[in-house]
């Protein structure tokens, strides 16, 4: 759509003309000279029933009003927010109200209580684990929603010629570089994932990096090849196991915590790779979920199925 002068000049020209009040939008959309044939057909399908010129006049009027109102709203909002920012505690201030007993305990006792050297990982996966549980379910919800919208198995939406003109796997440079790059990215992703409690990173970043590696693989060697290795069933199973494990593990810890029962999970020796109790397995579970989510986003957008 972008390299071909099909739609885009249309946007600009309608926009400028319309701003000067010279254009009747309905007319321009219908005139075959401006728009590609497909869009003309679809506009014809939704044939307006009332008087067109009166209607476009109405649209134009309401658009002017909308522009004025939106500008006023934006300016008002920006001013309000700037005034609020001027009234906030200073940036970088060590005595700000946010540096209170909560942050202090996270930093000072975090390593001892959760076993995680990385305070942020300890905070999101142990102290405030319910938020993070919700967050992984945001990903799950959105992958289901994208499946609903993009899955090609639905009625009347087959894209006919998806044949690619470029096959990247035949390109020597791309293939050669990717042969080195993809394993490197994957190893880096796994490193981030497993070291989430020791160094910056964790489930979300590691999973995103892994997902990006898989996406590059699928891009270069083709989606068929990728889906042979990573089948839809595999993805479903991994998501089911990771999220199920996450739910069960966390509900054990929530239940014992709330009922003041003894939990068998110990923080271990801080700094070791096998430490920090549940944080390492949870990081792995979250990482798998994020990785599968990113990869399935790619596959759904690319070819409409996993």
């Amino acid at each position: 759509m972008l390299d071909k002068p099909k739609l885009d000049p249309e946007f600009s020209s309608i926009w400028t003309l319309w701003k000067n009040g010279q254009i009747d939008l309905t007319g321009s959309l219908r005139s075959p000279g401006h728009q590609d044939p497909a869009s003309v057909k679809s506009v014809e399908k939704y044939r307006p029933r009332r008087d067109r010129s009166a209607f476009s006049h109405y649209v134009q009027k309401s658009n002017h009003l909308y522009n004025i109102l939106a500008t006023v709203l934006c300016v008002f909002f920006a001013c309000l927010m700037l005034m609020t920012v001027a009234n906030l505690p200073l940036y970088g201030d060590p005595n700000a109200p946010t540096v209170n007993e909560v942050a202090e305990r996270y930093v000072e006792k975090g390593t001892e209580e959760t076993g995680a050297v990385n305070t942020v990982a300890g905070m999101i996966l142990d102290y405030r684990a319910f938020d993070t549980l919700g967050e992984s379910f945001v990903l799950f919800t959105s992958v289901c929603a994208v499946t609903i919208l993009m899955n090609l198995s639905s009625k009347r939406q087959h894209v006919k010629h998806t044949k690619e003109s470029i096959n990247y796997a035949d390109d020597m440079i791309v293939r050669g570089v990717c042969r080195f790059l993809v394993p490197l990215i994957m190893v880096f992703g796994i490193y981030i994932l497993l070291n989430g409690h020791l160094s910056p990173g964790g489930g979300f970043s590691g999973g995103a990096v892994l997902g990006a590696g898989l996406i590059i693989y699928a891009m270069v060697w083709g989606e068929e090849q990728a889906s042979r290795i990573i089948s839809a069933r595999l993805i479903k199973t991994v998501v089911l196991c990771s999220l199920g494990f996450y739910c069960v593990a966390k509900s054990y810890s929530f239940f014992t915590g709330a009922n003041h029962l003894h939990s068998i999970i110990s923080p271990g020796t801080p700094g070791r790779i096998l430490s920090a109790g549940l944080i390492l397995p949870l990081n792995v579970a979250v990482g798998f979920v994020v990785c599968c989510t990113m990869y399935s986003f790619y596959m759904f957008f690319r070819r409409g199925k996993l």
């Binding site: 209607f55 920012v85 201030d93 700000a96 305070t119 910056p200």
Partner: protein, 133 residues
């Protein structure tokens, strides 16, 4: 006059937040004024990043370092506030899932209506009113 001066000093000191607010407003403007759905989604993303910048800059403390306890130094004096970083991490993931959903809606709408111009879409919506379901 002094009040105004204090305001300006505060604004100057909170420059990171000011930029965050400006980014949010730019994103909001793109959302309001752009007629292309894809650009609206970009506007939403910019809005979100503005919010995250605002949140993360609230946790920063001048001259302190990232809260990863390596040398056994556990005093709060050396580290920044870890809470905003954790919250922003949540926010970034929410933002990417929302934009994936918006983009898939965009594709479906283009498939049905062959246009991404919201005004044209709105027009089709209004003119096909009153008929069958």
């Amino acid at each position: 006059m002094t009040a105004l001066l204090t305001y300006c000093t505060n604004l100057f000191n909170n420059y990171e937040e000011v930029v965050a607010v400006i980014l949010f407003s730019i994103g909001f403007c793109i959302l309001l004024f752009s007629r292309n759905l894809i650009k609206k989604v970009v506007g939403l993303d910019i809005m979100d990043t503005g919010v995250f910048l605002l949140l993360a800059s609230r946790g920063y403390i001048e001259g302190r370092s990232v809260p990863i306890i390596v040398d056994g130094v556990t005093s709060m004096e050396n580290y920044i506030n870890p809470i905003p970083a954790g919250l922003v991490l949540t926010g970034i993931v929410v933002s990417v899932s929302v934009s994936a959903l918006m983009l898939s809606l965009t594709v479906r709408i283009y498939r049905t209506y062959r246009t991404l111009d919201v005004d044209a879409l709105y027009m089709m919506m209004s003119v096909s009113k009153g008929g069958k379901r």
